[in-house]
């Protein structure tokens, strides 16, 4: 059975700041990032949909120690965002000010900014590049 929304296709879209997911024609659940089957009912009756990129922060961290090859990125804020469509997705937050990156972030609305995603160019282990959403705090 063919994979409906591959990493390659998802990544290509995300690099253009389009966040893709899958909608289940059986139960209506949105699955994102993509999987082989619906995250709720394990069904395979799936269509590709573009998601809003809007949601709220569920949790976060301001990370100071990066993996080898990515040291120049630190410090950076990682967030798990609950999208308006339901799924949780990982990304970065524009803000790295320790005075702002506090427990008060949890529940704050965010949206994928106009600046576009950030792209990890890849290293010798990663078989290519990979984008992640970059979120802005909504006022």
């Amino acid at each position: 059975m063919e994979y409906k929304l591959t990493f390659e296709a998802y990544n290509k879209a995300l690099k253009k700041n389009k966040l893709l997911g899958l909608t289940c024609k059986d139960c209506g659940t949105i699955t994102a990032p993509p999987k082989m089957v619906c995250s709720e009912c394990a069904g395979t009756n799936l269509d590709i949909v573009e998601l809003s990129g809007k949601g709220t922060i569920k949790t976060f961290t301001l990370n100071n120690v990066a993996a080898e090859g990515r040291e120049c990125e630190a410090p950076y804020t990682i967030v798990l965002v609950e999208l308006a469509e339901g799924p949780w997705i990982m990304g970065n937050l524009m803000v790295i000010d320790p005075a702002v990156v506090t427990m008060d972030l949890i529940g704050r609305p965010v949206s994928m900014g106009k600046l576009g995603p950030k792209v990890f160019p890849g290293d010798k282990y990663s078989a290519g590049d990979s984008a992640r959403p970059l979120f802005n705090l909504e006022s």
């Binding site: 999987k35 993996a67 630190a74 990682i78 990982m90």
Partner: protein
């Protein structure tokens, strides 16, 4: 199913980067484990080994086969298990199943790792390989960052001020150091105070250096034997009475249960059900404290304390020797060290020795009869629990 017993074991010192190869580290503990179990190389029918990053740390894959040859067990089946930090526990569970099934009578199970030899940058990179490479590592996810996010989520979920959770986390680390100082094989044998924990370098908010376990080199091994042969090997065998294992997908896909790790709840239920016991029956538990917050989360899902309350339990001494359940009298991953492919075997070996009252007296759990291990791989991707009791 036949009864399966641990009859002996060994652990190398867990250390910072050192020069012995993985084959050498594993061979040493294997020979010690065999000697302690009154078996010879020719008696071993199969090897089950946890090893995660040997390919990266010293350019050696398939270390299990070379180790088998090295210890005079050439020709026997030798399997490598990779379940990130839970690798050796997966090996123990599989070995248990093979012996219980009647296929083997005596097997060597263990693990080896040179995680410290990787150096912090490459170790951070390769450990992150046990997270989702497609949809989470791109955001810069590291292992401290996983548990850092769980710590914030824990505070939010149970409506606790972050400062309180941080104090609870620091209490976990202080207790682990307190026990590890007496463990001759531990990597970090020093007293660390609350103040030192809370003033240490911030790795990934809210986790500080002393909230995190170290990178370690080391090996551990145990010998498992069937009920048909165990009496010939030792008068004090320790029986494996329950095992559990479960898997989970990427962190984002665990949204319904986080900060709880649902693979743990599936795994420990299997283990409790098989052993026919519950959390109140556990005297001593070696649980996966890769980060201090991981201990709080684990102890709740294992059923020792109510959700959101384990920090108070630690502060009251309920997780210490003499409390409700003695957690990590070895010093845990925090102080004993965490050579990831070996950790599960070291936990099993610790419970084995605790039940036989053979550890250093300062950290011996008095009259411990039933113990459990809890080993987590990745961000819950692999979770194994093993319950053991005195078999004499």
């Amino acid at each position: 199913m036949r009864k399966v017993f641990v009859v002996g074991g060994a652990q190398s010192p867990f250390t910072v980067a050192q020069q012995k190869t993985q084959v050498e580290l594993f061979s040493e503990v294997s020979m010690e484990a065999m000697a302690a179990s009154n078996v010879k190389s020719k008696d071993i029918q199969a090897i089950f080994m946890g090893n995660v990053l040997g390919d990266f740390s010293e350019g050696q894959a398939m270390v299990q086969a070379f180790a088998a040859d090295n210890i005079g067990c050439a020709g026997i089946p030798a399997n490598r298990y990779e379940g990130a930090c839970a690798s050796a526990s997966v090996a123990v569970r599989d070995a248990f199943i093979w012996v219980a099934s009647g296929f083997y009578d005596i097997v060597l199970v263990g693990g080896v790792e040179r995680a410290a030899s990787l150096g912090t940058p490459l170790a951070t990179r390769t450990f992150a390989m046990a997270s989702d490479r497609s949809y989470e590592f791109p955001s810069g996810l590291t292992f401290p960052a996983v548990f850092a996010m769980l710590a914030h989520l824990y505070a939010k979920t149970y409506d606790k001020p972050l400062e309180q959770v941080k104090e609870e986390m620091a209490t976990v680390s202080v207790q682990s150091y307190k026990h590890g100082i007496h463990n001759e094989k531990a990597q970090m044998r020093k007293e660390v105070t609350m103040e030192q924990v809370l003033s240490s370098f911030v790795v990934s908010t809210p986790l500080q250096l002393h909230d995190c376990c170290p990178f370690s080199d080391g090996a551990a091994a145990v010998i498992l034997a069937s009920e048909d042969v165990v009496k010939k090997l030792t008068a004090k065998p320790v029986q494996i009475t329950g095992v559990g294992q479960a898997s989970a997908g990427p962190l984002h896909g665990q949204k319904k249960t986080l900060p709880r790790i649902y693979s743990r709840e599936l795994s420990v239920k299997q283990a409790y059900d098989m052993a026919g016991i519950g959390p109140k029956d556990i005297d001593v538990c070696e649980l996966h404290d890769c980060f201090s917050i991981a201990s709080l989360i684990a102890a709740e899902s294992l059923g020792f304390f109510e959700y959101g309350k384990s920090g108070e339990a630690w502060i009251e001494g309920q997780a210490d020797i003499g409390g409700k359940v003695a957690i990590n009298p070895s010093g845990g991953l925090k102080s004993r060290g965490h050579p990831i492919g070996a950790t599960g075997a070291a936990q099993v070996y610790e419970i084995f020795r605790q039940l036989r009252s053979e550890v250093e007296p300062q950290r011996q759990v008095p009259d411990a009869k039933i113990g459990m291990t809890d080993t987590l791989g990745g961000d819950g991707g692999t979770l194994v629990n093993i319950i053991m009791k005195r078999g004499w």
